[in-house]
Symmetry: C2
Subunit: 143 residues, 2 copies
Amino acid sequence: MILEKKKAFNSFAAAKGLRSTRQRDIILDIFLSTHQHVSVEELYLKIKSSHPGIGHATVYRTLRLFTESGLAREIHLHDGQTRYEHIMAGEHHDHLVCTCCDSIIEFEDETIEKLQDAVAALHGFQIKSHKMEIYGLCANCRQ
Amino acid sequence: MILEKKKAFNSFAAAKGLRSTRQRDIILDIFLSTHQHVSVEELYLKIKSSHPGIGHATVYRTLRLFTESGLAREIHLHDGQTRYEHIMAGEHHDHLVCTCCDSIIEFEDETIEKLQDAVAALHGFQIKSHKMEIYGLCANCRQ
DNA sequence: CTTGCTGCAAACAGTTTGCAGAACT
DNA sequence: AGTTCTGCAAACTGTTTGCAGCAAG
């Protein structure tokens, strides 16, 4: 699956006439090896530990490329940082964010998706993407 | 209704031992007179035009007070600015955001809310708040 | 050799903070 | 009088940009 994604990115790059560089390979590798919801800073630090010399700007620029290529998606959870998550084909999940321990539970609910479509249709709106976050206390923090 | 809110804020302020100042009155007045989803900058400019001399910082600090008092709510739509919306008692609405013209349609869907509760319950999660934004093209921009 | 990419540092935007003076109680 | 609040400017954070040098094609 990681290989698939690399190929996907390479075709995107080729189609766009982008060059294949050492840095992009490294960043892609490390991005793919991370858990969901990495912040740019987290990724940057992870990269730097094994490949010092890679700059902030390159990480930002490369993550934007990943987003354009359909490989990653930006998400904004209330902490003022941009995070990126992997896009798994066709999948569409939302988040339960614990405001106490910052843990994130993912979920997907097809009925909610359908209702979103219905609401959009009602307003003549064409959905491109959506996001939904529910804030509160996770099971652990409730005690 | 505006008067109600002023009273609500005054009781909050009193309970917290906060002072009643000219600036807070002005900011509250102007905030209440705005449409939904004002950004801090928009509000600041609006305030400044009739009351020059009020500083950025005061607007930020005061909006935070409004949020704490339950009168306003922060929202983050993808443009890197914090926006504030009025809280109408018990209401809970979500947004259709047009990525073309930036217009915002509000909606409320009780069934979605119920499903959110169900999902949360399933994960032992206690909801405090939520947000949902659907991005896409509004009826006008689709043409 | 040409052009795009990188790393650095500086620039930027939005927001927060420190502090001296002003204003409320 | 005592303390909180304000306005200003400076600090800060996350992100973007300009540019000289490097590297891929």
